[in-house]
């Protein structure tokens, strides 16, 4: 492993700092050792430094990134996700067919040269609809995850850091929300709003999906806030914003990132479920969930219109969960 060499090369000169001393510092001689160890005599750091200018400092995040690049599941999920995200942003690159152009005469066709994935009951091209459907799923997944990280992270960090009555209240609120099933709550929420868009789905999933993040954040913050470097910062006179922003959050966020990445996939699946149930995105929007739903009526005659969006949905969810696993392994090897 070339990286190992790099590491060793770095450590060698630093170790030698302490070596000239160790020979004379046996426990019993600690008292007798008065003059021999002054720093001036040692020339501690004047040892030639083997590091080249190309050697950049490696922080914990850089370590994690290095770890990620050694992980095959990161590459597999990364390539798949890049492809899917590109498809969501530029669907026109993948197909010239308008997904809303539905000649009813072409209903329920099998895959062919004209229609790669066949057509659905209204005669729309399933391939085009699958390509265009990626956008809704990816937006819902990413935006909902961002929302739960903000809500859950804030609530968890506050209750973990301040503790006391604030923690008691926030923890009870979290418990109450935990008692509400996500799908049921989202169903009620979606049926009570007039205009159903991607963003109402995001709001529904976000408002009822932050609890796990909050709990993880709370536990993580409690662990970090007891650490010596936080005490050291407080001893220096650092205020709460600095301690939270510079010391607690950067060290507490790793497990949250892991769980957020994994739950991203489940939010996409939940959005598809809502759309399948007819309460997610309106029929004017193109989404995998809605297409899977409408395909069930023609399942026996033309299974392709169900199979293709389902494969894309599964692959997307799978990719995010795989990415989450890779991120977890990189950020927190203890969780493995």
């Amino acid at each position: 492993m070339p990286d190992m060499n790099k590491q060793q090369r770095e450590q060698l000169p630093t170790r030698s700092d302490e070596q000239p001393q160790s020979a004379i510092e046996l426990p019993g001689m600690l008292l007798a050792d008065e003059e021999g160890t002054t720093l001036e005599k040692r020339g501690a750091y004047s040892a030639p430094d083997a590091r080249g200018p190309q050697d950049k400092p490696r922080g914990a995040w850089a370590e994690a990134w290095r770890e990620l690049r050694n992980s095959p599941s990161f590459y597999v999920s990364g390539v798949l996700l890049l492809f899917l995200v590109f498809m969501a942003i530029f669907p026109g690159v993948f197909t010239n067919i308008d997904p809303r152009h539905c000649p009813i005469l072409d209903t329920n066709q099998d895959p062919s040269g004209d229609h790669w994935f066949g057509t659905n009951v209204q005669g729309c091209d399933v391939y085009a609809r699958t390509v265009y459907g990626a956008r809704a799923s990816i937006i819902v997944g990413v935006a909902t995850t961002a929302l739960i990280v903000v809500i859950g992270g804030l609530i968890g960090a506050l209750s973990g850091y301040f503790g006391g009555w604030l923690d008691t209240i926030l923890a009870r609120i979290t418990d109450i929300f935990f008692g509400i099933p996500l799908l049921l709550a989202a169903l009620v929420f979606m049926s009570s709003v007039k205009d159903r868009t991607v963003w109402t789905v995001v709001a529904a999933l976000g408002v009822f999906g932050w609890m796990q993040i909050a709990r993880i954040m709370r536990g993580s913050v409690i662990t970090v806030k007891k650490s010596d470097y936080v005490v050291a910062a407080r001893a220096l006179g650092a205020g709460t914003p600095r301690i939270l922003g510079r010391h607690v959050l950067p060290n507490a966020i790793a497990p949250v990132i892991v769980v957020a990445t994994i739950s991203l996939g489940t939010f996409i699946a939940t959005e598809a479920t809502l759309s399948f149930l007819g309460i997610g995105l309106p029929p004017t929007e193109i989404s995998w969930g809605a297409d899977i739903s409408s395909a069930t009526t023609a399942l026996r005659d033309s299974p392709y219109q169900l199979i293709f969006p389902s494969i894309f949905l599964s692959v997307t969810v799978f990719s995010f969960i795989l990415l989450g696993d890779a991120v977890r392994d990189a950020l927190d090897p203890k969780l493995r």
Binding site: Q21, S22, E25, L31, T168, V231, A232, A235, L236, G239
Partner: protein
């Protein structure tokens, strides 16, 4: 220990050059008390008792001296450090820094005073933020107290500090995990020195380090004291390290000071039975001395600080205990009948010299 070359402290050259500081006290601790409440109930908490972690500690820290604070685990040493650093609220008593009571100051005045008291932590592996570079760690004090160094000056200052503690100033962009334990502790010391404090509270600064590295760090602390005129409160449980660095030593037991005096007084002329028992447990490198010395073996455990014994805290394990020890709390004072180096503050009704280490 008496057989080691500088066992007789009066013959120690360093101690002649730098006599025990007799100057004015820079930090006066008076009747310091910290009780941690024991509570019951979830929402409406009821106090059902208190852990008396520190229960009336009084001492002075002189300018330029090193005061060693020793005692076994759980005796309240670290709580004293946290109280002096204002990391815990003081239950009772006062901490006077040049006459200002830290417990009564707040806001800006407290921040200004606190700048002068800094801390070095025990574990160099946990006391440095793993996500910050050395430049950020040592430079952070300047972000918090911007009046100390102008912004443009900080990098140079950080590099000077690194050089001062014997690290390569070019390593400012490295992260803590790229350093060894001893080097990390040097970074911790540099952080403590950043604000030019007058007092450093070192809470077991070497006990997490390799024995081979301990002496380097202790010697660095001594060098810095000589160069910068620092006062140290050096907390440790390693008696030989404390003797090496301290001008005066205070022995703590169960939240109180049992005995306090110069290192010669404490090590060569201990009068408190607890100190004598502690010293008799110090390993003696010389096999001859080991055969001749007396070992005092204490029975029982340290009582719970939530329910300490009445009168003398040590009486439950003391071989000299009489009725008076349970009835009357022994004050920390010089006892009658003691002379010479034995005449120092000792909280025992039956304080009496007993040569432990020089028994041969």
């Amino acid at each position: 220990m008496a057989e080691s070359p500088n066992g007789a402290t009066s013959a120690d050259p360093r101690k002649i050059v730098k006599p025990v500081a007799q100057g004015e006290p820079i930090l006066q601790v008076r009747g310091l008390v910290k009780h941690f409440p024991i509570t019951q109930g979830i929402l409406f908490q009821k106090k059902i008792g208190a852990v008396k972690a520190v229960d009336g500690v009084t001492f002075d820290l002189m300018k330029g001296e090193t005061l060693g604070l020793v005692g076994e685990s759980g005796c309240g040493k670290s709580t004293v450090a946290r109280l002096l650093m204002n990391l815990e609220s003081i239950t009772a008593g006062s901490v006077l820094y040049k006459g200002d009571d830290l417990a009564k100051l707040s806001g800006r005045a407290l921040k200004a005073v606190r700048r002068n008291i800094q801390m070095v932590f025990q574990d160099p592996y946990t006391s440095l933020n793993p996500r910050m570079t050395v430049a950020d760690i040592i430079g952070e004090p300047y972000d918090i107290h911007p009046e100390v160094a102008p912004r443009g000056d900080r990098k140079r200052r950080v590099q000077e500090l690194l050089e001062l503690v014997g690290l390569n100033p070019e390593h400012i962009n490295r992260y803590p995990h790229q350093f060894s334990g001893g080097q990390r502790q040097r970074i911790g010391i540099a952080r403590g020195l950043a604000l030019n404090p007058e007092i450093i509270i070192a809470d077991e600064p070497v006990s997490a380090l390799d024995v081979s590295v301990q002496a380097q760090v202790v010697n660095l602390l001594e060098k810095l004291q000589n160069e910068l005129g620092l006062s140290y409160l050096f907390i440790a449980h390693d008696l030989s390290v404390v003797r090496h660095i301290s001008d005066r030593v205070a022995v703590m037991y169960l939240g109180r000071i049992a005995e306090i005096g110069t290192d010669a007084q404490i090590y060569d002329h201990p009068t408190h039975p607890y100190t004598q028992a502690l010293l008799s447990a110090v390993p003696v490198p010389d096999p001859d001395g080991r055969e001749h010395r007396e070992r005092i073996i204490l029975t029982g455990d340290v009582p719970s600080p939530a329910n300490p014994p009445s009168g003398c805290r040590f009486r439950t394990r003391c071989w000299k205990a009489q009725d008076i020890c349970a009835e009357q709390e022994p004050l920390l004072e010089i006892r009658k009948g003691l002379s010479g180096l034995g005449a120092h503050d000792s909280a025992c009704h039956f304080a009496e010299e007993k040569d432990i280490v020089g028994a041969a």
